[in-house]
Symmetry: C2
Subunit: 596 residues, 2 copies
């Protein structure tokens, strides 16, 4: 029933052919996308990764081919030999690159048959993602997923070629490694030959790339898989891909210049989009004040503003209590939101509440005066001082959030984005890059009651802030930088600590005991003592960047074989149970009550 290639060789991909090839004898191979009979003639849309091509099987031209084609069904794999001809007048398909031609088939071979797939291989599908993930190999035939996977290939290729040209060395680092301090949970791998001991899968090659700088490799990069055993909220994967880089003898500006060049090239080559340099630079403080977030979406100009000073003595207890408790009051002027219905305002308020807000006060400026539940507490004079400060005009609504600082920033930043959406201010065709710098080095971890590194413990403090280690640690600025695109952080990095004494200071303030320090990082601190050059680096989320370039809703749409929110693979059914013998070999046993 099935035949092999024999001496048949493909001369073209389907999508490559067009009017220029008219008259040529060609051989193409691919999948039967659609088959229809029309007055005894069989028409087949043949599909490969380059697109669709119309085959015509006419019983009068080639009876054998025609009769073989009668057996053909959707997704059969076939090879055909035939002649390229212009389509008859009126049958030209403008929407298809190959739409002006068709192949008059002389011979056809069925290379493989196919069961009827559980869903149609179509550009857009309304089939549930679970089914598509179970049959991922069919989902991956869909033109838009193929477009994404090919785009991702072009993305990593462009990254490599740019960095090859800049003298970076592609150096591989281990996967079976030791717990890193990135914060998130490690995936562990029991060692059979070393009973009771475990490897950790890397959350990033951080220490290895710094060791490569200590070893004098000067410029390193790697496109590398990393692993985080986190609870997978939102759009996360247990394994993700990172463009990881490190350079020696540089300062922040050197790295920023190099990276801006990289992204100009990526956007030009992969998406045909021209990006302007230099990218704007914003301090963390400014980002938090104006956008209430450290990854600001700068595509639209609604800004949040802290108004503690204005309202600290007012009659509105919600504001004054918040301030008394060390919190903040922030306002945002939703320009033109006057047209919002009562219902819409409630929706926005509910959204804020769902994010931890106690409520969302507002002042609406109508032609015929103000409308607000709170002006009776503020009084006329203060109300107008506030409206002036927020530059509020007729047709605007000013929203207010009050409470604990981080909570207010959280919901006000989300409310800002929601307002941008509802007011149609977000231009999907804009690509706004922003560097965010001068992050704090440390933050206070309430649960653990200790300082925690905002980036990671290898980030260098700003030199003049070093004395603050002993006086006011939370005021220390880090030599860290994030690259933000359209409100999502696509990369982050820093100039690193290259002095062992500062590195020890850092570990100490993070509350590591001498013992923990030696156990976890002893070898690294020792390495810093043997001649470490000033160095710094950055890492980018390849999945995220690919999904932005592809305009995909989820990073799952730019990963060939992604996992679910439960970190499972619906196709192969990984992870799965293993037999006791394997566990015995690894000197471990299960610590659960096996459900019967």
């Amino acid at each position: 029933m099935l035949s092999l290639l024999g001496d048949w060789r493909r001369t073209h991909y389907c999508g490559e052919l067009n009017g220029k090839n008219t008259g040529e004898d060609i051989c193409v191979m691919g999948w039967v996308h659609r088959r229809r009979d029309h007055g005894g003639v069989i028409f087949i849309d043949l599909r490969d990764k380059t697109g669709l091509l119309q085959l015509v099987l006419n019983p009068e031209i080639s009876p054998e081919a025609h009769s073989i084609a009668e057996a053909v069904r959707s997704e059969y794999v076939v090879a055909v030999k035939g002649k390229v001809e212009k389509r008859p007048e009126g049958t030209i398909n403008e929407n298809l690159p190959t739409g002006e031609i068709e192949i008059i088939v002389k011979e056809i071979k069925i290379l493989n048959n196919a069961k009827t797939p559980p869903f149609q291989i179509e550009e857009n599908t309304n089939v549930g993602e679970d089914v598509r993930l179970k049959y991922r190999y069919l989902d991956l035939r869909r033109p838009n997923l193929q477009k994404n996977i090919i785009l991702r290939h072009n993305l990593t290729r462009t990254m490599r070629e740019y960095l090859y040209g800049k003298g970076f060395l592609d150096i591989e680092t281990p996967f079976l490694t030791k717990s890193t301090p990135e914060g998130a949970r490690d995936y562990l791998v029991p060692s059979r030959v070393n009973p009771g001991k475990f490897y950790a899968l890397p959350q990033s090659p951080q220490m290895f790339k710094q060791l490569l700088m200590i070893s004098g490799y000067d410029r390193y990069f790697q496109i590398v898989r990393c692993f985080r055993d986190e609870d997978l909220r939102a759009d996360r994967q247990p394994e993700f891909t990172q463009l990881d880089m490190e350079m020696s003898f540089i300062d922040r500006q050197d790295l920023m210049d190099l990276i801006e060049g990289l992204f100009v090239e990526i956007f030009q080559k992969v998406a045909g989009i021209t990006v302007q340099r230099p990218f704007p630079v914003m301090t963390y403080a400014e980002a938090m004040e104006k956008y209430s977030h450290d990854a600001p979406d700068t595509r639209f100009e609604l800004f949040t503003k802290t108004i503690n000073d204005l309202v600290k003595d007012c009659e509105f207890k919600v504001f004054t209590d918040a301030i008394k408790e060390g919190g903040i009051v922030k306002a945002i002027n939703a320009k033109g939101a006057g047209k919002f219905s009562r219902k819409e305002i409630d929706e926005i308020t509910d959204y804020a509440v769902s994010l931890g807000a106690k409520g969302l006060a507002y002042i609406k400026i109508n032609e015929d005066g103000l409308q607000s539940p709170i002006i009776k507490f503020l009084g006329e004079q203060l109300t107008h001082r506030i409206l002036d400060t927020m530059d509020a005009k007729v047709g605007d609504i000013v929203f207010f959030g009050a409470g604990e600082k981080s909570t207010v920033n959280l919901f006000m930043s989300k409310v800002r984005l929601e307002l941008g959406r509802r007011l149609g201010l977000i231009d999907k065709n804009k690509y706004n890059f922003t560097w965010v710098i001068d992050f704090p080095l440390l933050e206070w971890d309430k649960e653990e009651k200790r300082y925690a590194a905002v980036h990671h413990p290898f980030t260098a403090p700003v030199d003049e802030d070093i004395p603050l280690f002993d006086t006011d640690p939370l005021k220390i600025r880090a030599k860290a930088y994030d690259l933000v695109l359209n409100g999502s952080e696509i990369g982050g990095g820093s100039i690193r600590i290259h002095r062992s004494d500062i590195q020890e200071k850092m570990f100490n303030i993070l509350g590591l005991t001498k013992e923990e320090c030696d156990l976890k990082f002893g070898f690294f601190i020792e390495a810093l003592r043997y001649g470490t050059p000033p160095h710094g680096g950055i890492a980018f989320g390849v999945d995220r960047i690919a999904s932005i370039l592809a305009g995909a809703d989820s990073i799952r749409d730019v990963i060939a074989f992604p996992k679910t929110q439960k970190a499972t693979c619906l196709m192969s059914d990984a992870p799965n149970k293993v037999d006791a013998k394997q566990l015995k070999e690894l000197s471990i046993k299960l610590d659960i009550i096996e459900e019967k």
Copy 2:
């Protein structure tokens, strides 16, 4: 004590400078390789990844720089500004690319100090590997290791650029996956969110790359880490890197042509070596007969020969018993081995015995007649028939091995290599590629008492051999091919099974029950039913190829951070113990008696 870069920027790497730069003001940064005082003047050899450069600090030219330089020790990190000048007559160093110049230093900055390293950073070192692995970051400063790591970068870069040009898509496959059937043990990863279940780290992306062909991606490649939890004999690593490829709508010859082009390019670009194509092709049967091994070293022409027919009726029981028990008798003519001393012959015999031989009979052809412990059994006539068959002349020695087939092939192949070495027949500058084809599809596993796949269970049988599944499975030839270079297998692959019925036949003959089959490969067999194109691929060992190109003794010398034979990292001390809390989270516990 330490200063930062400030506005200093490197203008050149050390090794880039030469006579052409004479008179230029430059800024270089690197490591103090050596420092010596000479009549009040300080000479420093500055090192970076490009090489060494001589710095001159003359107190009369720049007293400040000179006094700073007095504090400098080996491996300090410094930056200097100065002028390039020709060295005085008679002080030119021919062995150094920068040997005709030196830098007259005007300013110097100490960027970091350094403890005295545990060993000198020298081209060649006699320091034990354990110490070098513990301080790998210092070992990696040694010029020859840097050469290897840079060579490896050029190797993978060349592979990528060649495959980009051939329309291959670089597609990433998962690391957290399901047990694959490659034979070796899997590394397991417990899943926290799925208690009692485990991921397996891939031994190769075999099924994923075939699924990508089923999905229509047509040409796939990936340079990817793979994992095998084997007992690390010889030169193995628990994690290794593979160039993994797969193509659709091809036959063996298409793939061979593409691969030969790849290696011609690799050897030209990475090592400047011109390789001839096409590569010779040898059947498995021929390789086993003439080289007694399936990865023949074709650089020298000593051949083994089965002489069962000649000796089956002779008086020498060692031969006849072996044949009666279904074994073989093989001979090899060591041309010119006549010069071997008695002691040397004994050494070779002992070597064979250490590999399982009962002994190693021989006939030495001297001017004055034959010398041999066995001719008295063979008789004159047979002896001369044998010598004729082996084309043995005065000055040669013919060695004989007898016994069970696989044992004889093992020790005779090793004896052949040993003879090649001792007779000086192996040309280190020769690079002999050989394709080995027509492997058997199956072998008989004595322990498990069942058939096992010689390559892997996805390898396609030769079409006309398919009927043998029911009659004589061991006679089925596989559409498999290995690429051998100088006697080591650097890559292997096959045309795959693209029909679900054949794939099931294969799993059945391997003794998988319907249940096991469904559990392990159900999804894959199902995938084959939805329109699978004919396809095939190959995978190459990147570590091995890099070590051959670098002329390294061990793959550890081409891996930045390798592991020991015990699969440990002496630098970071991975694997290590983890705290009970982590194990609890993973629903596992240790199954060992903790040594106190």
